[in-house]
């Protein structure tokens, strides 16, 4: 039981790495498609695919292994400059990437196995046509893509039979069980003017096979790079009766052509078991590397790699100046690669965040209770500052570049292009903007819908576009930026814009608005987010099921954000998601209504008023206004809005009016019984176990363990309409 648990855990990490690897690969391939075929971009893609392959082998995902292996072969050739990274080749690789992503999904069990025949054939073709004939020295081209065969134990000559059985490998000179070439060939090929070949010594740990790390795979990998086995140390081999077939006793020494980069060699050992010894050394040589570009400023003296493959080695060997065509992300990527990272369970982070939240709360309680003199005496201000810094730091741990959410868009556009025939160019900016991980996870779906919507409804067919004087290819701009405590995520297309006449007609037809409703352009645009609205004449698989934009709006609102739509006929449409920076903490005022406590976000609060008699007057039987410095503002009784008015209505003089600012209706007075406290609260979402409730931004757990609901002022005042005592807010279901 524990063993399989552990394995599951390791496998989960593998899939996490796959996801990351896929994102890296996609980024790299996209950069290649955009013309950046620099060495480190290609190497990045290669490494990503290589890692996926390695893990898939270890976990027995045969289909994934086979495909990634073939993909890797092509990438390897591209990386080695043997296949030029032409747009055609890049395109094949992009398609292969999509299939690879599908394979990963299939291995995870979230999707069926994809049909990869076409992509495989394309990859094979690239290998066959571009790879043939241009092979460099001693580098046997891998023409058979899959090698999943276990160790072939072949009989060896009798003279080696010192243990009374047929040994696995006795001497390299006499036999060739693995099909490698004799030593002489590669050594001779390396002329004296070339740098000395690498000597790779590989001593897998005894338990390598038990750990699922088959040493032979690593050896084969080196051989594929042109490595030739020069020596096998069998001294550790015990007598037969002591021999455990599950253990690994041999030490291999291989000679690898000098033209191969050290990093490439060390990559072969990415998946060997811990405690294995890998030494990559080279005899002193003074000549420049024979590769087309001086990529590897190799040290002249022998260099020994640490026992386990170390990432840093790979990175340092790959550090030529960045290519000229760097986008804003390239720098960040560079930095990321060098930074050391550690994987932390999100639960632990959230726990930490909760605790820090509690700490902040205690802090504010202390400062409420202590007079200023005592606060100074116990250095409370300093403590508060430190606490706040800890909080900021913990919050930043959860922050992730929004790129993660954007990364699936290119693939989607490719798929959509295939389905609709609409070619779209994607422009991305601000993808390094950091957002809380929770926000990133939740904007995926809305983003998908928005992109689909833009392609399906916004971008015209190529013919229509040409007729309208636009380029045949559509343009979608995807951007993210932070403004204050909010994140703006925009999807703009240069399509035909919202057809307001048609939207209006459809909304009337669907009974969403009355036939004689007077609506501004903006209001009409908002209609496309109404539940059950869809203007697509044909229901496509892409959008047009009438849920898309509705889902976008409700998802975004559930996050405490909103969706803005601006559209200009003939020019395009822009959807903007305005999201909170964090979902975790909120500065709030604890108010009491009929004995129940609620949290009012402080960002909304302008001032608090204890009304004088006569300051609050009824306007209609069910509505009241407050006179404030000559202005009349609407007053809403929260008790009414929440249906909490079982008790006798308090008179305004016994209540407090909190003037709040709302985006939709300006300033509004909210009537509450009392104010308990002002403090920072940790937001718990309601939809984690329930569903979002309009008017509530979530809930929080107070110091005594009870729950207080967090009010969403904008939704509260906007949705209110005429408030009557028995018409509380409508839930989402209504």
């Amino acid at each position: 039981m524990p063993v399989s648990d552990e394995l599951d855990e390791i496998q989960a990490i593998f899939f996490e790495e796959c996801t990351e690897g896929l994102a890296v690969a996609e980024q790299g391939l996209s950069a290649m498609a955009a013309g950046d075929v620099s060495k480190e971009v290609i190497a990045g893609v290669f490494r990503a695919v290589h890692s996926i392959k390695g893990g898939s082998g270890a976990f027995g995902h045969a289909a994934l292994l086979a495909f990634s292996h073939c993909f890797e072969n092509v990438l390897d050739e591209v990386r080695g400059g043997k296949i030029a990274a032409t747009p055609e080749v890049t395109k094949v690789m992009l398609t292969a990437f999509d299939v690879l992503a599908d394979h990963v999904a299939a291995a995870q069990g979230v999707a069926g196995p994809p049909s990869d025949a076409a992509a495989l054939a394309a990859l094979e073709e690239v290998l066959a046509t571009k790879g043939a004939g241009t092979m460099a020295i001693a580098s046997p081209a891998p023409s058979t893509p899959v090698e999943t065969t276990p160790v072939d134990i072949e009989p060896a000559p009798a003279e080696a039979d010192q243990f009374g059985f047929t040994p696995v490998i006795a001497g390299v000179e006499e036999l060739d069980p693995f099909g490698f070439e004799p030593v002489g060939v590669s050594m001779d090929d390396l002329g004296s003017g070339d740098p000395q070949p690498w000597t790779v010594r590989f001593d897998p740990s005894r338990a390598a096979m038990a750990n699922g790390a088959e040493p032979l795979l690593a050896v084969r990998e080196v051989e594929r790079l042109g490595g030739v086995m020069t020596e096998v140390d069998i001294s550790a081999l015990p007598p037969l009766r002591d021999l455990d077939p599950e253990e690994s006793y041999l030490t291999w020494t291989l000679s690898v052509p000098a033209t191969v980069e050290e990093s490439t060699i060390s990559e072969c050992f990415d998946f060997v078991a811990p405690d294995s010894v890998v030494e990559i050394t080279r005899a002193a040589a003074s000549m420049a590397p024979a590769m087309p570009a001086p990529i590897d400023p190799s040290p002249a003296e022998p260099k020994t790699a640490p026992p386990t493959p170390v990432l840093a080695l790979v990175e340092t060997a790959n550090e030529p100046p960045p290519p000229p065509r760097v986008t804003s992300t390239a720098d960040a990527r560079q930095v990321e690669v060098v930074q050391q990272t550690i994987r932390v369970d999100l639960m632990k982070l959230d726990m930490l965040l909760n605790l820090v939240g509690e700490l902040v709360i205690r802090n504010s309680i202390l400062s409420d209770r202590l007079p200023p003199v005592d606060q100074e005496r116990v250095e409370l201000p300093e403590l508060a500052r430190l606490t706040r810094e800890i909080q900021d730091n913990v919050m930043s741990l959860r922050a992730q570049p929004i790129r993660q959410a954007f990364s699936r868009v290119p693939r989607m556009l490719r798929d959509l292009a295939g389905e609709t025939g609409k070619q779209v160019i994607l422009e991305v900016s601000g993808e390094t903007t950091e957002v809380d991980k929770g926000v990133i996870e939740k904007i995926g779906d809305p983003l998908t819908h928005m992109i689909r919507n833009a392609v399906d409804h916004g971008i015209e067919d190529p013919a229509d576009r040409l007729a309208a004087g636009k380029p045949a290819e559509g343009l979608i701009k995807l951007s993210a930026e932070q403004k204050g405590a909010r994140i703006f995520v925009r999807v703009s297309d240069d399509g035909k814009g919202i057809d307001r006449v048609r939207v209006r007609a459809k909304a009337i037809e669907k009974g969403i608005i009355a036939a004689d409703a007077v609506l501004s352009d903006e209001e009409i645009d908002q209609l496309i987010c109404a539940p059950g609205f869809s203007t697509a004449d044909t229901i496509s698989s892409i959008s047009g099921r009438g849920v898309g934009m509705d889902v976008v709006r409700s998802n975004v609102e559930a996050l405490g954000g909103r969706v803005d739509i601006t559209s200009t006929p003939g020019v395009g449409t822009t959807f903007t998601m305005i999201l909170p920076l964090t979902l975790a903490i909120l500065d709030g005022m604890i108010v009491r209504l009929s004995g129940q406590r609620f949290v009012l976000p402080l960002t909304n609060v302008i001032e608090t008023v204890r009304p004088e008699p006569g300051q609050v007057r009824p306007m209609t039987p069910t509505s009241e206004v407050i006179e404030l410095r000559g202005n009349y503002l609407p007053v809403k009784r929260l008790t009414d809005m929440f249906g909490l008015n079982e008790e006798a209505r308090r008179s305004p003089e016994e209540s407090l009016i909190i003037i709040v600012e709302s985006e939709s209706v300006g300033n509004v007075g909210l009537m509450v019984d009392t104010i308990d406290d002002r403090r920072e609260v940790v937001i718990k979402s309601l939809d984690q176990n329930l569903y979002p409730i309009r008017g509530l931004g979530g809930a929080t757990i107070l110091g005594d363990g009870s729950i207080a609901l967090i009010l969403d002022i904008d939704a509260l005042v906007a949705s209110a309409g005429p408030i009557t005592s028995n018409a509380p807010l409508k839930g989402l279901a209504a």
Binding site: G643, N689, I693, G731
Partner: protein, 163 residues
């Protein structure tokens, strides 16, 4: 562990609502806790009693009797909340009294006969159980336990149908 049941066997937690005996699959159960008044929510169906704090998570509490269309439970000393996982979400159900944990065979379960209901049946099946007496011996008369289909009690699901 409970997952080590032999195939075809299921552990069922039985509890009463009024005069009826109900059962849910043990696998879905997270914990049984004493009743304490939850924080009421605005604009939710009456059977959602509110939310409560379950070790730092906000969990809705559902009046199961109302949810199933019976008269609402009257709170008493043995009222308790069964906290269960439904489709990845947690929910607490107010029940009158937890009775027993029983082991039944899949083939003992009878599908619920077709009856006229206004919504999709939440009864997954019926099973006959001999209730244990104080001494632990099986009683003479057996009683009917209504097995609930927890999935159909999921809050989202109910909402979608209402919408």
């Amino acid at each position: 562990m409970s997952t080590l049941n032999t195939p075809g066997e299921r552990k069922i937690v039985t509890f009463s609502l009024g005069d009826q005996m109900f059962g849910i699959d043990m696998k879905a159960l997270i914990e049984i806790r004493e009743w304490e008044p939850p924080t009421p929510l605005p604009s939710v169906p009456a059977y959602i009693k509110g939310v409560t704090n379950l070790r730092g998570t906000v969990v809705p509490v559902i009046g199961l009797a109302e949810r199933l269309g019976w008269t609402p439970s009257v709170l008493h000393a043995r009222s308790c909340i069964l906290v269960a996982t439904i489709g990845g979400k947690q929910a607490g159900f107010l029940v009158d009294e937890v009775a027993d944990i029983i082991l039944i065979n899949e083939d003992q379960i009878q599908p619920a006969p077709e009856v006229e209901t206004c919504e999709q049946s939440v009864i997954a099946g019926l099973v006959q159980v001999a209730p244990r007496t104080q001494e632990g011996a099986a009683a003479e008369t057996s009683i009917m336990v209504l097995l609930l289909d927890l999935e159909s009690l999921g809050l989202m699901r109910h909402l979608e149908m209402a919408a």
